[in-house]
């Protein structure tokens, strides 16, 4: 699948990724209690989303590719969700 993305888009995404890195490191020095981990993981998910969307061009791919990409995410949610349902209720 060949997708023509302007170089400027790549550079903007890269700057965005570095800004998010700065934000997530900055958040370590502010005590927000339980919100720290929430913010940290939200930033990590945003960074992963940017890489998968723009560097890996997931959106432009065929539906079959989408299915496999989502299967990875669905599986790991089942794995962690299912296990936590046990661990957290013991």
């Amino acid at each position: 699948m060949r997708i023509s993305t302007p170089i400027k888009t790549y550079l903007n995404v890269y700057i965005g990724l570095l800004a998010l890195l700065a934000a997530t490191v900055g958040a370590v020095y502010v005590n927000l209690g339980p919100w720290n981990i929430v913010i940290t993981m939200a930033i990590a998910c945003t960074k992963a989303f940017l890489v998968v969307t723009f560097f890996m061009h997931l959106r432009a791919n065929a539906r079959a590719v989408w299915i496999y990409a989502s299967l990875g995410v669905i599986w790991i949610s089942f794995l962690i969700g299912g296990t936590l349902a046990d661990v957290l209720t013991r």
Binding site: M1, A62, A69, L71, I76
Partner: protein, 213 residues
């Protein structure tokens, strides 16, 4: 469209490109399962021993962690530019330049990782009989450091494999295999490299950033 690029089992180059895209995404899905076990283990122990994990995380070298994250993000950019250059049919020197830069950044990442490992050995933070850590529950902290070495080690192994793949891509670029009509291998190699970057995007906060400083 040239016949030399089309394997006999495919009707068209487009079909061939779709098949290689689908193939690498299936592989990446299995990689998610592969790392998923470690992420699960991490999650369960993190919930079980939150204090030990947060204290242990503070012993990570955050400066080197940030530098390495920036290096890996930069290598993803240069990788995207290498693929872009090959797909646009630019001069092979341009593609090679981006590939070399990507590999160089990958090697620097591994070098810094090695320095971090060395520090952990010197500081007796490697799980085992020599593990010494006051003030935190020793056994719980060793679980954290065990996971640290397992997860970053497996990630580093993926980086080394990625460097091997990129060397092959360099060779193919040098031989002029990639044209505007055909660039599947470097496209697939790029997807693998970006995936390894995504793994680090999650490893870095989970290992370095969970304790307030």
């Amino acid at each position: 469209m040239s016949d030399r690029d089309l394997s006999h089992q495919f009707e068209t180059l487009e079909q061939q490109a779709l098949a290689s895209s689908l193939g690498i995404w299936v592989f990446l899905a299995t990689e998610v399962l592969f790392f998923g076990g470690l992420f699960l283990l991490y999650t369960v122990y993190r919930i079980k021993y939150p204090a030990a994990f947060m204290e242990s995380s503070k012993l990570m070298d955050i400066k080197l962690g940030v530098i390495n994250t920036a290096i890996l993000l930069t290598s993803s950019l240069t990788m995207a530019l290498a693929v872009h250059s090959a797909e646009e049919g630019e001069k092979k020197q341009a593609t090679l330049r981006w590939l070399f830069l990507t590999m160089f950044l990958g090697i620097v990442f591994l070098g810094i990782k090695g320095i971090e490992y060395h520090h952990k050995f010197v500081e007796h933070l490697v799980p085992g009989p020599d593990f010494v850590l006051e003030s935190i529950n020793q056994q719980q902290a060793q679980i954290f450091f065990g996971l640290y070495f397992a997860m970053t080690g497996l990630h580093a192994l993926h980086m080394i494999i990625g460097l091997g793949v990129l060397s092959v891509m360099g060779g193919m670029t040098w031989m002029g295999k990639f044209t505007k009509a055909y660039s599947n291998p470097i496209h697939v190699a790029g997807l693998y490299w970006h995936f390894v970057d995504v793994l680090w995007i999650f490893l870095f906060p989970l290992l370095y950033l969970i304790g307030n400083r």
